[in-house]
């Protein structure tokens, strides 16, 4: 049995799931669940909804263009049975899925590196802004004064051991 893709969210439809809608001009729309079917009836655009594959690919959140996607494609040309070819494709399927997964993980990591920087900067900003929530302003002032004192002490020249010997 063929595993079709949902027209709306492009997830796989397993047998016994979802509903197919046939328009008057005989075009077929397959939906994986009632959520997708209901959104289709509301005439919503899957490219504008964040949870669909179409949006995620368009917004650059997932790997969109890659050679590993070209294996899984609907081909209308009937292929003559060939044992060697079948074995080769079975092997290829496993290898290509592994490669695809690695590439997707790499893509995710590179995308998250930017996000990590952004979150760190924003957290830093919020900490500087709302420091009074962490420590009371009075104690902060005290700390500042103490720091100033310490700086002063550090700035003063300290007599070395040789100098002290000379003085004696």
């Amino acid at each position: 049995m063929r595993l079709e893709k949902c027209w709306f969210c492009s997830s796989t439809i397993y047998p016994g799931h979802g509903i197919t809608f046939v328009r008057n001009d005989a075009t077929i729309f397959r939906f994986c669940r009632s959520k997708c079917h209901a959104n289709f009836k509301l005439k919503r655009n899957p490219r504008k909804l964040r949870w669909t594959k179409a949006y995620r690919k368009l917004a650059g959140k997932e790997l969109a263009q890659d050679t590993t996607f070209e294996l899984e494609r609907k081909r209308n040309r009937p292929e003559r049975y060939n044992r060697e070819l079948l074995c080769a494709t079975m092997k290829g399927m496993k290898a290509i899925t592994e490669i695809r997964k690695k590439r997707q993980d790499r893509f995710y990591d590179t995308r998250m590196q930017k996000a990590r920087k952004q979150t760190r900067e924003s957290e830093k900003k919020s900490l500087l802004k709302d420091i009074h929530l962490v420590k009371a302003p009075e104690s902060l002032l005290k700390d500042k004064q103490q720091d100033l004192l310490l700086e002063k002490v550090a700035a003063e020249p300290v007599a070395t051991v040789e100098q002290m010997d000379v003085q004696e």
């Binding site: 047998p15 809608f21 046939v22 077929i28």
Partner: protein
């Protein structure tokens, strides 16, 4: 749901365009035969106000199959047939379903482009 008084579209070129169901059993599904009167016509053999038999081809109500799949169509449509259940027109537009094979209406299936 198709019952007495339901208006249906015609998807062949027999001459009828819109028909009204005047005789049917309860729970009409795809492949069932109903009697209709013709309300609107287009180019073809049949005239308006005549009484005809017709085979239901698609329904807006969900069509459930034993393998668990469900199908829904845009409109209720039927195809005009004579008393021997042979099709009057010579072309069928739009989609039809494989359930017609069960009722031995293979002529309709052979004329359609897309069977679902």
């Amino acid at each position: 749901m198709i019952c007495r008084g339901t208006y249906l579209n015609i998807s062949d070129n027999s001459g009828a365009k819109i028909v009204k169901c005047i005789g049917c059993n309860d729970g009409i599904n795809v492949g069932d035969i109903i009697t209709v009167t013709i309300k609107k016509t287009q180019k073809g053999k049949l005239n308006s106000k005549s009484v005809q038999k017709a085979v239901v081809v698609t329904t807006t109500k969900k069509l459930k199959r034993k393998d668990g799949s469900q199908y829904r169509f845009d409109t209720n449509t039927c195809v005009c047939v004579d008393s021997k259940l042979s099709i009057i027109g010579n072309r069928v537009m739009g989609a039809t379903t494989y359930e017609l094979r069960m009722y031995k209406l293979i002529k309709i299936l052979s004329l359609t482009k897309i069977c679902i």
